[in-house]
């Protein structure tokens, strides 16, 4: 807890001025003698979706956990809000890759929201304003019809949206997402990305997304970061996907181009 407060202390940040932005500077994480992250520098702008891609074990999830302050790290996090003030304490929302829980548990979607948002014990009936607030939160992720559903009865995609809604209340300045590797079908994933697009436009929020689906990244991300223990390359999706190092790492065919990635799976999954 203490560490989290310490590393969010803001210092001056010149090129972030006048724009709401988060700067990750010289982030390094060592576990034992292993260097997981080495000198990572990133600028994340509000209203943008920044996708982090990279091979397995590249330190993508570690980066998110370091930003959250959950694991010890070196380096600093600067946050500057839209008025050019560096508040130093961005509200961070986090959507985990997967929530492992007992699917037989008698817990509804409303229950988990009430437990997170209210001090009133969940076994007492909720106040009307609270239920309205939860409905609003759920509507943001197109899931208000799920409010009384049991958690264990949700599909992978529905659960992902519920977790997103939880991360959005209270509304964060910086949203961290760890995309699930499995358990969410293609339609669910598509809806998830659409919601993210709505959010970044409406709420002017900075979003960092760890993704394993290069198609989706090519279509939806504003900025792509190729990570492998350090930042290999970053830029627009076009720049990163046409880079030789990206092709090498993901074993793309040499003849392919960015357009091929962007187009794939379009039109209801018919390959082009």
């Amino acid at each position: 807890m203490f560490r989290t407060i310490m590393h969010h202390h803001a210092a001056s940040s010149e090129d972030c001025a006048k724009l709401c932005c988060t700067k990750i500077e010289n982030f390094s994480v060592k576990i034992g003698r292993m260097t997981i992250l080495d000198q990572v520098n990133l600028h994340i702008h509000c209203g943008q979706l920044t996708a982090v891609i990279g091979p397995n074990g590249a330190g993508k999830s570690t980066l998110l956990k370091a930003v959250l302050g959950e694991i010890p790290h070196q380096g600093t996090l600067h946050y500057v809000d839209a008025k050019g003030k560096h508040t130093g304490h961005p509200v961070i929302g986090y959507v985990p890759q997967y929530l492992r829980f007992d699917v037989s548990a008698p817990i509804s979607v409303m229950d988990i929201f009430m437990a997170c948002l209210s001090n009133r014990p969940v076994w007492i009936f909720p106040t009307r304003p609270l239920r309205r607030r939860v409905l609003r939160s759920l509507a943001r992720v197109h899931a208000d019809h799920l409010i009384d559903r049991r958690l264990g009865a949700l599909s992978g995609g529905e659960l992902q949206r519920i977790l997103l809604a939880l991360a959005l209340d209270p509304m964060p300045d910086l949203l961290l997402l760890d995309e699930p590797v499995s358990g969410v079908d293609q339609n669910g994933l598509e809806l998830f990305y659409e919601i993210l697009s709505e959010l970044r436009a409406k709420e002017d929020m900075a979003i960092i997304l760890i993704s394993h689906d290069l198609n989706m990244v090519a279509r939806h991300a504003d900025q792509v970061v190729l990570l492998n223990h350090g930042v290999i390359t970053s830029g627009t999706p076009e720049e990163v996907f046409d880079d030789g190092r990206t092709r090498e790492m993901f074993g793309m065919l040499t003849g392919g181009s960015f357009g091929q990635w962007k187009g794939r799976g379009d039109d209801c999954g018919n390959p082009l």
Binding site: L99, A105, A115, R150
Partner: protein, 282 residues
Amino acid sequence: MTVEILYDIMNMLLPFEWAEHTFMKNAFLAILLVTPLFGLLSTMVVSNRMAFFSDSLGHGAFTGIAIGVLLGFASPLTSLMVFSVGFALFITYIKTKSTASTDTIIGVFSSTAIALGLMLMSRGGGFNKFSTYLIGDVLSITPEDLQTLLLVALFVLVGWGALFNRLLILSINPSFARSRGIPALWVDGIFASLLALLVSISIQWVGILIINALLVLPAAAARNVTNNVKQYHAVSVLVAMLSGVSGLIVAYYFNMAAGATIVAIAAAIFFVTMLLKPRFIR
């Protein structure tokens, strides 16, 4: 005397043969006070998979009684409470710090506690006077015991209200709870203390051998037929109270141990809910 007023009310409301005796009235009031607490706390014992842990609390209580008698207390309740809470906090702390698996750690401390208790109690060959703690005697409850029960019941209820939401998030997923800033060790520790308190106050009339059943069966039954936290709590409390009251009455007419009868009825309810499960779970 407030107790006298309660007795009069019961005479009006319960014109049955079993309710004529004062010891039955006391037992009835005690059951109305304590079974709802078992119903409440058992929800999280089951959700957090703590059945083995709550079992060990009974064993820890055994040592607490022995130490109390050794130190010369007339009623070993104080030493029992202090020792049980200390024992519960100690296990909670060790299991978060140690790399050994939770059930191994609980197994080690649970058997150590019962061995220690047996050693102390059997010293000088006087074990028989402790045998009531094994089976329990609900008919021995006095009006003074009822007062203590009422205090503990209020304390546990307030603690439960303050703790519950955090405990619920922790029961869903510990790392999700951490990302929400919930101090797991504190929440676990307070829950363990409440459990220890409930166990130590009720052990003299339920008995060490079966007390754990009351911390598992109500919620286990409720889980089979409920879909959200409110239903889960309501049904669990209902099962605990229903089996408590009916167990006491049945035990009176058949002249059996009340604690055991209560548990047997709760078990019967559990099996019924198991059969009903497909009709209720959405």
